[in-house]
């Protein structure tokens, strides 16, 4: 008797309960995979897809109805909203034109070229070929940005990669939607008409997102000081802006007319993240950050599990040739987009020139992830043939897997080789010195203890103590020289130490409550003070760790900021 037959033996078990059981099982799988991948140092998202393969063996138990509406309407909006919420307009502004060129021209170029080539080489009909071109042009920088933070690459490079990814996600989704719509319509498909519709749909979506984002920022976030209400409002905004744009046609009496819900979500997130959040209290900021981080984690986990469930390994073998074409093509197009557009940007705006080292990182860092997979899952056999849908899903899976395993795992080495990992090597040296000082001091303490206990002869104990003292002095001097040579490390150490100290204060407060020394109401009053200090530290850290003024750098002719 199968697990499904046991669980669903009763006729009374409705669809809702079935989906609920499936969701619980998938979340449990996600948690187990997170623990294992962390211990085994294996990429979490890849592990989720593999787990999805195996979970597909559970059959009906994990069979969630993965409809296009579920993916586009429920899972994609949080991903985009969270990304835009954390995108600093101040940082983005200096390179906005470059980012928009990559996102708009790069994505449209990728959509058309990949679409035409897979149509010609693999025989896919044009609409689904363009749909594949669009979905595979959406880059996902999550894994790359994690490396950026670890390795301490220049902030401008992070902004370029993150900004391009965010905007190209939105452009890709719009292009994808148009391609699918073209397949659904009985009218003849024209590139000119699609481009015109693209701009109407995009501009309308953006306008709705900007408008709603501003209304929520000025009407709620600026006037209400309640973390729960404000956070709930942002959730309503994310889904509300999507719905209003997507169903805009209902309001004007034409149900077939849709604006871009995805762009509406992205625009709303950008406004809240850069306007609305400035008027919130530190407590709300912390709550918002944690809420959206959790929601994104859940959505990411589900998307990667769904693709594992949807694409059994045997299909991968059947379409291996198509996967090879897709990988080669996506890499080739990425080369043209990154190096070609960088050349154009440098010629048109010399101040925004992108260094070759940055271009290498942007090319190899063009990983594909949740958005590509989510869009591939929305393809249905109602519109396309089952074989075409299967091929596109397997190709998407193959490209995502290749970029995560091939590119993702080699990014750190590339960044180091290009000399962009400025802080990491310095920090490693700093930590070596700190570790040696700690070791020597421990040795010195042990010698002193042995001397005091009479285990060691007095003279020997003093001689050993002196030797250790010299070692400690030497290491301390080396650390001091290192910090003098790398002054940015001092600031980083100061901020980190302060953050640790505040965490210790929080812990002490909690312990005092647990021990009954402090009443919980007093702790409740004091806790926000510590949260506020952490938020203040975040803001100061962002400013303190800014790159030097590049315009000053050029005057000094010692510019390594990549401009």
């Amino acid at each position: 008797m199968s697990l499904a037959s046991i669980l669903f033996a009763s006729e009374e078990v409705g669809t809702l309960i079935r989906n609920e059981i499936a969701a619980v099982i998938l979340l449990a799988i996600s948690a187990i995979v997170a623990v294992l991948s962390s211990r085994l140092r294996f990429p979490f998202t890849v592990a989720l897809m593999v787990a999805g393969f195996f979970a597909s063996g559970l059959g009906e138990v994990v069979a969630v109805d993965v409809s296009p509406e579920l993916i586009l309407g429920l899972l994609v909006p949080p991903l985009l909203f969270e990304a835009t919420l954390n995108l600093s307009w101040t940082k983005l502004r200096a390179d906005l034109s470059s980012v928009l060129v990559f996102a708009l021209l790069g994505t449209l170029f990728g959509t058309l070229v990949i679409g035409f080539v897979v149509h010609a080489v693999l025989g896919l009909p044009l609409p689904i070929a363009f749909a594949f071109g669009a979905l595979i042009s959406a880059t996902d920088p999550v894994a790359v940005i994690a490396f950026f933070k670890t390795l301490g690459v220049p902030k401008r490079l992070a902004v370029l990669v993150e900004g391009e990814s965010l905007f190209n996600d939105a452009v890709a989704v719009v292009a994808f939607t148009l391609a699918v719509a073209a397949a659904e319509t009985t009218d003849s498909f024209s590139i000119g008409g699609a481009v015109q519709e693209f701009f109407v749909v995009s501009a309308g979506g953006l306008a709705i997102g900007l408008g709603l984002g501003y209304i929520v920022s000025a009407g709620i976030l600026a006037r209400v000081d309640d973390a729960l209400i404000e956070t709930t409002t942002t959730l309503a905004l994310a889904y509300g802006s999507f719905l209003l744009a997507d169903e805009f046609g209902l309001m004007i009496g034409d149900p077939t007319f849709h604006l871009s819900g995805i762009l509406a979500v992205a625009a709303a997130g950008l406004v809240v993240g850069n306007v609305g959040i400035k008027n919130t209290s530190p407590t709300t900021r912390v709550t918002l950050e944690h809420f959206w981080e959790l929601l994104t984690y859940l959505v990411n986990s589900l998307v990667f599990l769904f693709i594992g469930l949807s694409v059994p390994p045997n299909l991968f073998g059947r379409h291996i040739g198509a996967v090879g074409v897709a990988i080669g093509l996506s890499l080739a197009v990425r080369v043209v987009v990154v190096y070609g557009l960088s050349l154009g940007i440098g010629a048109a705006r010399p101040l925004n020139k992108i260094s070759l080292a940055y271009q290498h990182v942007m090319f190899w860092g063009g990983l594909r992830g949740a958005i590509s997979l989510a869009l591939a899952l929305t393809l249905t056999t109602d519109v396309f043939t089952p074989d075409d849908v299967e091929r596109v899903q397997v190709m998407t899976f193959g490209v995502v897997l290749f970029t995560l395993l091939g590119q993702g795992t080699t990014m750190a080495a590339l960044i180091r080789r290009l000399g962009l990992a400025g802080r990491a090597d310095n920090e490693i040296t700093q930590q070596r010195h700190q570790a040696r000082i700690a070791m020597k001091r421990a040795g010195q303490a042990e010698v002193a203890r042995l001397g005091a206990d009479g285990v060691l002869d007095d003279d020997l104990a003093h001689a050993l103590n002196s030797a250790y003292a010299r070692d400690v002095d030497r290491q301390t001097d080396e650390l001091r020289y290192h910090l003098h040579a790398n002054p940015e490390l001092e600031v980083a150490m100061l901020l980190r130490a302060r953050r640790d100290a505040i965490a210790a204060e929080q812990s002490a407060l909690a312990s005092a409550v647990m021990a009954g020394l402090v009443d919980s109401t007093i702790a409740h009053d004091l806790a926000p003070e510590l949260n506020n200090r952490l938020v203040a530290l975040d803001l100061l850290e962002e400013r303190w760790e800014s790159d030097p003024d590049p315009r000053l750098g050029r005057l000094r002719v010692s510019d390594d900021s990549g401009r």
């Binding site: 101040t90 502004r93 200096a94 306007v275 400035k278 008027n279 919130t280 209290s281 530190p282 001091r480 003098h484 002054p487 940015e488 001092e490 600031v491 980083a492 100061l494 901020l495 302060r498 506020n532 200090r533 938020v535 203040a536 530290l537 803001l539 100061l540 962002e542 400013r543 303190w544 760790e545 800014s546 790159d547 030097p548 003024d549 590049p550 315009r551 000053l552 005057l555």
Partner: protein
């Protein structure tokens, strides 16, 4: 009245962010010590970064910045071995106008600009230094980490 108040030269060290601040501060302390000048540390929460922030949060940021900079001054004094008083002043506003106002109010003879991150999208550090020199009549120099 302290000995510092009797000194003729008043140095103003201005900073509004950027890495390598302690290194710059050390150099400012050494300059002040070498010329027996008083030293005031003006830290600015610049409008370009902090203007849109909620007022209560801005107060916490200023408080936290003061705490960090007092620690940093103590660190720099220990590192240089110079026990010279450094007056800390944290202000909010536009970098150029705040710097000029404080320089005038304190009769600064030398303005030291430390760890220069961009002032704003429209003004370079070099332009800021030229404007400060023109409006205050003080000598303005750049300190690099």
């Amino acid at each position: 009245m302290t000995a510092a108040d009797d000194q003729t030269d008043n140095y103003l060290y201005v900073s509004w962010g950027g890495s390598g601040r302690t290194s710059c501060l050390r150099q400012a302390i050494e300059r002040a010590e070498a010329n027996d000048a008083s030293l005031r540390y003006l830290a600015i929460l610049d409008d370009a970064t902090f203007s849109g922030i909620d007022a209560s949060l801005r107060a916490v940021v200023a408080d936290e910045l003061t705490w960090l900079l007092e620690t940093q001054i103590d660190l720099a004094r220990r590192q240089t071995g110079i026990d010279r008083r450094v007056r800390l002043q944290v202000e909010s506003g536009e970098v150029g106008s705040v710097s000029a106002a404080v320089a005038k109010a304190t009769d600064a003879t030398l303005i030291l600009v430390g760890a220069p991150v961009p002032v704003s999208h429209s003004q370079t550090v070099v332009e800021l230094m030229a404007a400060l020199a023109a409006t205050t009549g003080s000598v303005v120099e750049l300190i690099e980490p």
